[in-house]
Symmetry: C2
Subunit: 360 residues, 2 copies
């Protein structure tokens, strides 16, 4: 399909922001990728065009019934000028699992990866190189059929936009304070918690705002049925080091199958550190802490990579982890993962995919 | 605020569809209402303009994090030429409750109602008059800030579009067949099930598709915790008549507080028919059916008004209700409610609001 890729280059390049002014998701590159879908023609008309507004009928289903899927991944520029993508197939494969849950048509993974490489090639000058920076890539799908019946859309757009980013949390890799949420629920088995779809994030905003007012960066979500099993932290997966062994909630249908989560598990196993995926209760965690067995805690996600947790507040019972400092393992995982991603360290598990610009 | 309402009329009126070609949500009137929000200026710049595409940055938060709220209500034209709205304040008040849950800024209810009346006034020729037709009104809010951090948007648009509609179900007021969903879940306490937000509808599409393949119109949703309490049917509230008494699931945080639901309860009480809001299990319903106590079942919602249920399938155990025919009470409720809405019957509970066109 990509043999028919149309490329329209901008005649009006934007000024790029300074490396220390990036923030997260504020600035966008000069171009974007778009591809259309209709029931009759499938995915068609792949094109790279200048970054520009999307024009939709007010009745487009995305505004009313929420059929929208997204992904997030990053590209890095190495010291020797190569461009690397971190496990991009995992993201697009997950996008297809999200699509399946939300009745959105399947993508051809290879076509999307090739489109992404082409887009990066066009905007290669936008990849920042300062420490902790990268090019954040946001593929997403929206339902565009202008019709108000509650039924899957007949038309969609698949779009990729890209943003040069710095650290996701203003704290950087310093520990964050987390509020354990007891009232609101992110998702439940049988729902869409495993899918990367907009509704999951909208549902979490209120709890996040309340936590922020109390001085906490994010919430820790408990399961919707028993209200005791740990699910995620903010929009990240979560890990705990207990007596030298790393534990993380098992994938249960309501937890996102994170690419960083999967990579941390693989890396730990590669290092012969035991890692166990299982249901973990919040009560167990507090007891472990009292017994001095809770050594480290951290969130994992594409945006922040590793985010150490220094404090938990569960119903006003405050738990300090590792004296509120970044743990040794958390730091080692962060340094190793970002080192591999930036091409500074060996890539023992074959994660990085070269997207070195071709001539377009 | 509406003193500053700007009205731009179209110079290119569309051809209106024939009454028997309407369907639901396929055609839109000549104009729309828009109002902007920013953190700095609040809701501002109310305007009526020709129906036209919405232009959004690809990073607009509505596409990524799902902050979107909608409502649905109807306008009717009476035989003597008046225009009536059915309980419009209830819808906009509910919109504010949804807004609160999704961290979307509050609307001024009176301003919205006035805007709606003005919009109807401009497009008054679009209100259909054939039996079972009406003008469906879709107010909605979308988050427009172009920023990829997971946080409430700083900018929104509030929009009203309108669609002349016929019956929502092709079955009309004839009984529908319903599949009791055991795998997928619509919502759970602590989630956003009580809010009218896009994500709830996207989450339900897959179950609906599977039910359709099996020959059922809609699914009946069970609760996400115990998987036994009845919540909603499709995107409607649900009622059961058991031994002359009407029962409906109590509002519990995961069920939509339907305007039609509320009206049915009021109407039944007005008729001195007992109606009980309480938790109802699917098992109880099957037992009642076996004992000959389940007399009628019906869904209620703005789109379909009353939708009789003729058959339930719960794990392949098929339950036929009232011989698969529309029940006497269901019919009476439909006739009374639509009679009041169309201005053909007295309005004993003071529901109808005149939106008779003023000169614009």
């Amino acid at each position: 399909m990509l043999q028919s890729l149309e490329i329209e280059l901008t005649s009006n390049k934007k000024q790029q922001p300074a490396a220390d002014q990036l923030g997260f998701g504020n600035h966008f590159t000069d171009h974007m990728f778009i591809m259309d879908y209709s029931t009759d023609n499938g995915w068609h008309k792949p094109r790279i065009q200048p970054y520009q507004p999307i024009v939709l009928d007010p009745a487009a289903k995305v505004f009313h019934y929420g059929q929208t899927i997204f992904e997030g991944l990053k590209a890095y520029k190495t010291d020797d000028g190569r461009v690397l993508l971190f496990r991009p197939h995992k993201n697009i494969q997950r996008m297809n699992r999200s699509n399946e849950r939300l009745s959105v048509p399947e993508l051809n993974v290879d076509v999307v990866i090739e489109a992404l490489k082409q887009l990066i090639s066009v905007d290669k000058d936008w990849i920042p190189t300062a420490p902790s920076t990268s090019l954040y890539i946001r593929p997403f799908i929206i339902a565009t059929q202008p019709q108000l019946g509650v039924a899957p859309s007949t038309h969609y757009q698949f779009i990729i936009i890209m943003s040069p980013v710095g650290a996701y949390y203003t704290e950087g890799v310093n520990p964050v304070k987390i509020f354990v949420e007891s009232e609101y629920v992110r998702s439940v088995k049988g729902g869409v918690g495993e899918a990367k779809t907009a509704g999951n994030y909208a549902a979490g905003l209120k709890a996040q705002e309340i936590a922020k007012e109390k001085g906490y960066s994010q919430v820790l979500w408990l399961d919707g049925v028993h209200r005791k099993y740990i699910e995620e932290v903010g929009s990240m997966n979560v890990f705990f080091k207990l007596k030298g062994v790393v534990h993380t909630p098992a994938l249960n249908g309501s937890i996102l199958d994170g690419v960083t989560r999967n990579s941390i598990i693989q890396l730990l196993k590669h290092w012969n550190i035991e890692v166990i995926e299982r249901p973990i209760t919040i009560e167990e965690l507090y007891k472990a802490s009292q017994n001095g067995e809770l050594e480290e805690a951290f969130g994992t996600g594409t945006a922040a990579v590793i985010s150490p947790i220094g404090e938990l507040n569960w119903q006003d019972d405050v738990l300090i982890i590792n004296d509120g400092k970044t743990g040794e393992l958390s730091k080692k995982l962060y340094d190793t993962l970002t080192g591999i991603q930036m091409g500074k360290l060996e890539d023992p598990l074959g994660w990085m995919v070269e997207a070195t610009p071709v001539n377009v």
